[in-house]
Symmetry: C2
Amino acid sequence: MAETKKSNLQLVAAKAGVSVSSVSRVLNGGSASEELARKVREAAAELGYVPHASARTMRTGRTDQITLAVADVGNPVYVQMMRTVTGIVAKAGYRLVVSSTGSDPQSQIDLVTSLNRGYADGLLMSPLRITEDLIEAMQSSRLPIVVIGTLPADVALDSVRADSATGIGLAVEHLVAQGRRRIALVNGPVDTVPGSARLAGYLSAIERFGLQTSSELQVTAAAFTYRAGRKATAALLGQASPDAIIGANDLLAVAALKELAAAGTRVPEDVAVVGMDDTDAAELATPSLTSVDLGSAKRAKAAAKLLIRRIAEPDAPVSRIVIPPALSVRESTGGPA
Amino acid sequence: MAETKKSNLQLVAAKAGVSVSSVSRVLNGGSASEELARKVREAAAELGYVPHASARTMRTGRTDQITLAVADVGNPVYVQMMRTVTGIVAKAGYRLVVSSTGSDPQSQIDLVTSLNRGYADGLLMSPLRITEDLIEAMQSSRLPIVVIGTLPADVALDSVRADSATGIGLAVEHLVAQGRRRIALVNGPVDTVPGSARLAGYLSAIERFGLQTSSELQVTAAAFTYRAGRKATAALLGQASPDAIIGANDLLAVAALKELAAAGTRVPEDVAVVGMDDTDAAELATPSLTSVDLGSAKRAKAAAKLLIRRIAEPDAPVSRIVIPPALSVRESTGGPA
DNA sequence: AACGTTCTTAAGAACGTTTCCAAGCACCAT
DNA sequence: ATGGTGCTTGGAAACGTTCTTAAGAACGTT
């Protein structure tokens, strides 16, 4: 293999004894004579020529990169999304770049701004909190953005969302069918999009099945994390005695499992537990966790395809896709191991 | 806020009635008169000017980006690294880009090549498998690379590695102190760097403590994943009856926990289990998992700092850092909950 | 009053690539 | 022979930025 020194088209052209434009043409698959192509390829190989990405971008306006912004790399639901998206965008000739923003709106606005610097051809984002400013930033972005999550109705951006209200309904229905009546919710922050959606879905399902609503059965963790879930569950168990707990995501539900175990409560005999997102964490938990599959892989896939299409056709009509939920029953509600 | 249309220095300059170079100077903090600076800033704000990253890169040769390549975003040890690295590089003014390569050497070589396209100013990578070709690609890279992991002695690249042999020693010592004698290893593929290191460490520790070595006590999972760990543990339990199991990483150890539970074996009473990496998964497991902390956060931190230094001083002497291991004792070996 | 110094601003080159355009040439049809 | 057609190749502009160089203005010094 050749040395990888600083090399550019000019050096290759000089070595091959041809013009710069011919080198470019050959290397990008344009038409050229056998003879010319051979000389160019030899020279390029010998010099270990690698094209300069920024120069190409400046000329063509394309980066062949797509950015996926996630709020928390530690959340297994994003892991699922990353895996799915990587495959989809690679097939379309893009490289995926993962950017970890905090959950605060400002860092997400910064991200949208930095997108306009031309780092990538498009952005996939799943904002936890949506503010006016963020929406404005997204709408005035020069480059396409697809949102994984729920947007206000009047925002003209492509989006793919889960139906977590229906999802919680599935969980409640499943629990009610087992005779559970005091169904608690360990939610994440309600000022987040998923937090508020899940609370609304819970309340509506509780009412639909004619169960009692009680504020003692609802607790809010400080974040969608394990640590916060432990605290919130402890608080819940201190103020109520539920016979079922729904965690607003799998991490919160696993935290509930652990807190129940620490309190000597049996799962599912005494208390059933259901998570949401159906991530790897649900399968790894002991007992394995029944979880509402909100279609994170499908959402990520649909969003990636939407973004790729919009990059190709900027004026395509706006799409709003809703992925229906499903329930994966496991040990924590008496399902199979 | 302004519309974010296509905007460049020329437009800003025209609007402000000054020259392009003056706009650049003002925006980059050069010296300029009050009056000029005001006009420029107003025009820039009005047009929603955002500098074009590629153009700047082409001129300056810098991208202010650092790439972190991970083999498997699903492995919690990489999650820890991502979190740590994000913070360090951000403080130094770099943005972190996470790139998910497969575990095969070719995709890692491709990554090194693509680094030479100038996507980033440097690369942090943790190769699972190291081949001659990969080493050659890394060595002839035009841009700096820091390896998180073990390299052959004659390779002149900065690296930060764990001492997994000593780490396994800690695990074995801990288990022996509890009277365990039949200590099994559920390893990952031995053609990987961590796989071979952990096998060697295990064998050496077993010998050091005068335990019997038996090939029935060693199994190899097809990958460092939960799924593969379940299979490997099942095979292990079919051919031997260990009183302790060391998983070569936390996922394999959690898999062992689950497989033992499925077989009705009690942990830690009948069999103790130890993982490696001390990731979040260890704490979330039931029972919580004793794990060898191989210092992934510290390694990531040290590697990031090394890379930042090398970008600043390309001719600095090569550093090889070794992070010492520690043991986090939890329920799976009789520790506290 | 002439000259040197310092400060502000503008002009223009350069980074490496792609692509438009034109030039050269062989070939074919007239 | 002549003109047109198609193909291969080279020249040069352009993308947006930074930075060097130089020009001009203001000011102080001799």
